[in-house]
């Protein structure tokens, strides 16, 4: 029996609707895009498409654990509640903290915030959204008096100029990017400008790429404001009627730089490119500025956000069809978290601390904190200093994701009481928990999320919970009740919470606050179940929701007018030095999500980039002696990592590493250990895109890989990477010492050593340091290992394909240790299209054979690039290398 359930993707902030075909008996799931959902109209990216592969019980946390032992909910909840109560009694309410996640549903988030801020009475509830969105929040509030996203996705199809600033939407918000690509294909007049130090996949559709100096965005936009002024491109009436502070803001642009030449020089851009961008911005009517972590993750992120918003206010291009500044949120429910006050400097329902009594009265919580709590980096510093003695981490992995992550690890290791509620059993953070509480995963829980365009959608349970996993809201309310707040947390289901949340949004609002969904204050359980995606506000004035804000010039500041912010651009705090001469930039990959706890479960998502890597300019690589495909140590003042070197023709002086790898999947892949713990003074968002580092070759005496049908316990290997694949696990390895005998070593430690009747194939060229072996069991490939003196190893793709075969042919068996198919056979090459599992060589062959010239033709021929489309840039790149 299958049934179809509409739900929402749990990954990025695009918030795509999903049509889930559920087979509950077999615990199987077929995912497709929901063609009725306004965020995606049926499109899904590679990650969303692979959700069906992440619902397995492998590595699920199925039972509460207390000090390493499995126990009942009763004992675990009692222990957490009692310990928190004791710590508060002894050290005060600020000795405890919650650290939440943009993965939590709005209802979960609401009760967590209510408990900490309203009833424990501390502001110490922060969230990983701090790492992601807080500069946008702060920028919005300074300019609009509220954390309001003025525009919506529909504007992609109306804009005439789309500016992507610090956003690799092609990989990080793939479905939005596909909409933009489609809009551009439908309307070739639509221009796309990408502003990013890196030449990312998003540049594939760019008419202009501005590879500006890392952190110089505010100069560029201050310069734009001055240019708009000088070229009489201002909306003088809008400025006069609906804004304040324009002349001060304009004045600040004069203080910094005068001419395009100076701006170009400062941003390390060509004068022509800057001129071109400014001219387009001046001459185009409908302009959408999409910005993301490249802007937000900065010690001047808030100012950068305002420098962008200033340009839109000055031209009146805000909240209009096709025009406005548009923050792309990173997480599925970062927006929902902001609505319920998930961050330490927020209260619920966009109510300011100045109005705290409203919240206190609504909740009947007289002890509601009157001041903001500690924000992420400060919060973990306080744990490190012993000021916070008990912390509850909900659905996030700060040991990986926070800056100076080794310090975070030490902080938790020394913390008196660490509680982690998560759906995953083994993460770098759960490893340090005293109490583990099994939370329901995406496919099991019920509630709402809000995407980047303020659209509230339902996530719906598809399956029964795994083990005794519970919803986060249930866990939190159980603790709250045990801490003495029985009646205030007497919710029976998510809709009870949602109603209260909606009611609070309307409480003494009177149009003063942007966030108002009071129309749902009495929503029935059935209506909640049938809830269709809707953009807030939803109230008497906007019963069907509202697509855009501010075209009418009505803002939520005390004066009702938007505020220009005078921005004095600042360089990133830590500049490169002789000792740390390079800048480390960090970011997402196409096929992984955050700390890989779920995406790494899906075999097909591990093929695109199977190993942590560092992108470096060839000249920098030469200068620092690192080789393409070799390994390199990257070190900052705070920590170090090892990554595979990839040469890219990006700006010199900047290296890039992906943010995803954890100690679960890599021995030395945690980039968070290097990132400087420097924050924006207003938003407190860390400067994760800019840390001075140095690089040097890592030269192990051997390198190799293992593909194994079974998960192996790799110990005593200096460098290792693990990834799950279709029917096998892949290990990339390197070592600083050679074993006495590879044959013995492999048979004892690096294979399925318990297997009886296994057959072995060995190849050894000892003088060259080459050892290869294959273990076969019942005519099937069980393990294959390739060792070399350096990184010159064959591709893994053909060997990988053998794990799905019931039996190897003689020819295949004889070719095993070459790593390539029997000559004449097909080797698909590195996987380009993760959705259809199509490799580089297959695509190249098709291009050559059929004289294909466009990615659309490749799509017709092979289906590659026709689902999520995020591999299109890579497909297009293959046209160039044919000859």
């Amino acid at each position: 029996m299958t049934k179809i359930i509409q739900t929402t993707c749990p990954y990025c902030g695009v918030g795509c609707g999903i049509k889930a075909k559920v087979n509950a008996e077999q615990h199987r799931l077929h995912i497709s895009g929901d063609s009725t959902h306004p965020a995606n109209f049926g499109r899904l990216c590679s990650k969303g498409s692979a959700l069906g592969e992440t619902i397995q019980l492998t590595n699920r946390l199925l039972q509460p654990r207390v000090y390493g032992r499995e126990t009942s909910w009763m004992e675990a909840l009692d222990l957490v509640a009692n310990t928190f109560s004791e710590v508060i009694a002894k050290h005060g309410q600020d000795a405890v903290a919650f650290y939440g996640s943009g993965q939590l549903l709005t209802e979960d988030y609401y009760v967590a915030n209510k408990l900490m801020k309203g009833f424990i009475g501390s502001g110490n509830m922060d969230t990983n959204s701090r790492l992601c969105m807080s500069s946008s929040v702060a920028g919005h509030k300074r300019a609009f008096g509220s954390d309001t996203v003025p525009n919506c996705y529909e504007d992609y199809e109306h804009a005439e100029l789309i500016v992507l600033i610090g956003s690799n939407a092609a990989w990080c918000h793939p479905v939005s990017f596909q909409r933009i690509r489609a809009a551009k294909e439908a309307n070739p007049a639509l221009k796309v400008v990408v502003i990013d130090p890196r030449r990312t996949a998003s540049c594939d559709i760019a008419d202009l790429h501005l590879p500006l100096a890392s952190g110089s965005d505010a100069w560029l936009f201050n310069g734009l404001l001055a240019y708009l002024y000088e070229h009489n491109a201002l909306d003088v009436d809008y400025i006069a009627e609906h804004t304040q502070g324009f002349s001060k803001a304009l004045g600040s642009t004069k203080h910094t730089l005068y001419s395009i030449e100076q701006i170009a020089e400062h941003c390390q851009l060509s004068v022509q490119d800057v001129q071109c961008f400014y001219e387009w911005f001046t001459s185009t009517n409908k302009i959408l500025s999409l910005y993301s972590q490249g802007i937000n993750q900065s010690s001047s992120g808030t100012d950068k956000v305002n420098a962008i918003i200033n340009c839109h206010l000055a031209t009146g291009k805000i909240g209009k069809i096709g025009s406005g500044p548009f923050s792309l949120t990173g997480q599925p429910n970062a927006m929902g978290g902001r609505e319920v006050g998930g961050m330490a400097n927020q209260l619920a329902a966009h109510i300011e601390f100045s109005d705290v009594d409203k919240v206190a009265r609504f909740w009947n919580a007289p002890h509601t904190t009157k001041q903001a709590g500690l924000t992420a980096v400060d919060l973990f510093d306080a744990i490190h200093e012993g000021k916070i003695k008990a912390v509850w981490i909900m659905g996030t992995n700060p040991v990986v994701s926070l800056p100076n992550a080794d310090k975070v690890k030490r902080a938790l290791a020394n913390c008196e009481f660490v509680v982690v509620s998560d759906c995953i059993a083994n993460t770098d953070t759960t490893a340090l928990a005293h109490v583990l509480l099994p939370a329901q995963g995406w496919s099991e829980k019920d509630g709402t999320v809000t995407n980047s365009e303020r659209r509230i959608s339902r996530q719906r349970a598809l399956f029964k919970p795994a083990g005794v996993a519970k919803p986060d809201w249930w866990i939190i309310t159980q603790i709250a009740r045990r801490m003495g707040f029985e009646t205030e947390f007497n919710y029976q289901n998510p809709v009870d919470i949602f109603r209260e949340h909606a009611a609070l949004s309307g409480f003494e609002n009177n149009g003063q606050r942007d966030f108002d969904i009071s129309a749902y204050a009495k929503i029935s359980a059935t209506e909640y179940d049938q809830f269709q995606p809707t953009q807030w506000p939803v109230n008497t004035q906007y019963p069907q929701g509202r697509a855009r804000f501010f075209a009418d010039g009505q803002f939520f500041t005390p004066s009702g007018k938007a505020q220009f912010i005078a921005v004095t651009p600042r360089l990133p705090v830590n500049q490169p030095t002789a000792n740390y001469p390079l800048i480390l930039n960090t970011g997402r990959l196409r096929d992984q999500w955050h700390t890989m706890t779920r995406t790494a479960l899906a075999a097909k998502l591990n093929q695109h980039k199977p190993e942590p890597f560092v992108e470096i300019h060839p000249s920098d690589a030469a200068q620092y002696g690192v080789q393409a495909n070799g390994l390199a140590h990257i070190e900052s003042q705070w920590g170090s990592m090892i990554a595979r070197v990839q040469l890219t023709e990006n700006k010199r002086g900047i290296v890039f590493v992906p943010m995803h790898w954890t100690a679960q999947y890599a021995s030395h892949g945690r980039m968070g250990a290097l990132v400087n713990p420097v924050c924006d003074p207003i938003s407190k968002q860390p400067e994760s895109k800019h840390t001075p580092v140095r690089i040097r070759p890592y030269t192990p005496v051997w390198q190799g890989f293992i593909l194994s049908r079974r998960e192996l316990k790799i110990t005593d290997v200096d460098y290792w990477i693990k990834s799950k694949n279709d029917g096998f696990y892949r290990y990339e390895l390197a070592g600083e010492t050679l074993p006495d005998d590879w044959r013995d070593c492999v048979r004892k430690n690096l294979c399925n050593s318990a297997a009886e009747n296994s057959q072995w194939q060995d190849y050894q060229d000892s003088a060259k340091g080459i050892y290869r072996a294959a273990q076969l069991l019942n005519e099937q490939l069980e393990t294959v290992i390739f060792i070399a003196a350096d990184h010159h190893l064959p591709e893994r793709s053909w060997l990988s394909s053998l794990f799905t075969k019931a039996e190897l042919t003689k020819a295949e068996r004889m070719a095993l240790l070459t790593g390539s198919p029997p000559v004449g056979g097909a080797n698909v090459g590195a996987i380009i299209c993760a959705c259809f599992n199509i490799g580089e060589k297959t695509i190249k062959a098709a291009i050559k054979e059929n004289n294909l010239t466009t990615h659309q033709q490749v799509g017709q021929c092979l289906k590659a690039g026709t689902n999520c489309g995020s591999c299109i840039p890579e497909i297009k790149a293959l046209f160039g290398v044919q000859t």
């Binding site: 060995d762 190849y763 050894q764 060259k768 068996r813 070459t818």
Partner: protein, 411 residues
């Protein structure tokens, strides 16, 4: 006209001698009056196929290279049979004399008397039922025994011994091979390959007594062998004892004629002996210190010798590494050159014991100097080519062991 022709006499109607004649006829058909003496009563046959005859894969007719008609057609006088065995070379008058008194004068003499089996120096080596495996006579004897007797013992785990053992097993005898080394075919195989071979032969029913030292052969009252005794005191029952511990150049006649011999008849690079009118080819010769037991160099000698006999006189014989194959159905092995290696060589080794495959290539200064292939010999000739041509294999190295097609595809 005929009287003007030079006279060429050949002693030995075997493979080396007749290959030389074939080469000579194709170069200068009319240069010589040719007379051939052979101690066996046949035309010329392929001695290396005797194993196949023993195993039943071939008949004697199948292995005949040149029947008597061929000699007639080519105007060659053939004296074949035991009575025609040459017993004396009168170098002073350039004449040979056979047992029955037949004589022939020569201008040029070609000695191709081959080799004799090495007889172990143990008590009982002259018993009935103790034979070698050299010619059709031996094969017929073995076949006769196999019809009436059960227990054969083969002394020598070399190529010939193993082929004899295989043939006798196929003919229904129980066979034990005695070998003085722990590794079978230790002149051609290293230990892993030798073990694979032993396993495979054991599956065929051959038993082995390895690293064994023979002490004596014991006969019955009729002077027929019944038991084999070993130094460690153990014994084996035995009806037929095959000696296959190698061959020795058959140089009795040459020595008696006063030709300079060491282990073999010493020849130069033109296959000429110390007597300018006498040439020698095949297993009876010694060239630059080497003696020969395999067919490939013999054919090369035949070519060079014919070149000189035909007075073209431009070829020089060089001993190339010789590849070895074992003629046992279903067993593929190939060995060439310095397959053991030493401290100055590097080895590439591939093994898949379950498939019965083992390969080892020995390299020195980026050149292939030796190879052992067991189970998969498809690329043997390519390796031989690389070895003989001293090809620099640096770019082929990573693919070398996986064969020509693959290696060249990645080089």
């Amino acid at each position: 006209m005929k009287d003007q022709k030079q006279k060429l006499v050949v002693i030995g109607n075997g493979m080396a001698g007749m290959r030389t004649i074939e080469e000579l006829l194709s170069a200068v058909p009319d240069k010589y009056d040719i007379t051939v003496f052979g101690a066996e009563p046949y035309g010329n046959y392929n001695r290396i196929m005797l194993s196949a005859v023993l195993a039943g894969d071939k008949t004697i007719e199948d292995i005949v290279i040149n029947n008597r008609q061929w000699y007639i057609d080519n105007h060659i006088t053939l004296h074949a049979g035991a009575a025609k065995a040459v017993i004396s070379i009168e170098r002073g008058i350039q004449k040979v004399i056979a047992k029955d008194g037949t004589t022939a004068d020569y201008d040029r003499l070609l000695i191709a008397t081959g080799s004799k089996a090495v007889v172990p120096d143990v008590v009982g080596n002259d018993l009935d039922g103790v034979i070698s495996f050299r010619d059709i006579f031996d094969v017929n004897k073995m076949l006769a025994y196999s019809r009436s007797h059960k227990k054969a013992v083969v002394l020598g785990g070399g190529l010939l011994g193993l082929e004899a053992a295989n043939g006798l097993v196929l003919r229904g005898m129980g066979v034990t091979v005695i070998h003085n080394n722990a590794v079978l075919l230790n002149r051609q195989l290293d230990k892993p390959a030798g073990q694979l071979l032993q396993t495979e032969l054991e599956k065929k029913g051959i038993k082995f007594k390895m690293a064994a030292k023979l002490s004596s052969l014991v006969g019955d009252e009729n002077n027929h062998i019944t038991r084999v005794q070993f130094e460690d005191g153990s014994e084996l029952d035995c009806d037929l004892f095959i000696m296959a511990i190698g061959v020795r150049p058959n140089i009795a006649l040459a020595q008696q004629a006063g030709l300079y011999c060491e282990r073999g008849i010493v020849v130069d690079d033109t296959l000429q002996s110390y007597d300018p009118s006498i040439y020698a080819v095949g297993e009876c010769i010694q060239h630059r210190g080497d003696t020969f037991g395999l067919v490939a160099p013999l054919f090369e000698q035949a070519k060079v010798c014919a070149n000189h006999l035909s007075a073209h006189g431009v070829a020089g014989y060089i001993t190339l590494p010789t590849a070895t194959k074992l003629k046992v159905t279903g067993i593929h092995l190939f060995s060439i050159g310095d397959f053991q290696g030493d401290t100055r060589t590097e080895s590439l080794i591939f093994s898949d014991p379950a498939l019965g495959i083992y390969k080892k290539l020995v390299l020195k200064n980026n050149k292939l100097v030796g190879a052992v292939l067991y189970g998969d010999t498809a690329d043997g000739s390519w390796y031989q080519e690389l070895l003989e041509q001293e090809t620099n294999i640096a770019t082929l190295r990573d693919g070398l062991i996986f064969g020509k097609t693959y290696a060249e595809s990645i080089a």
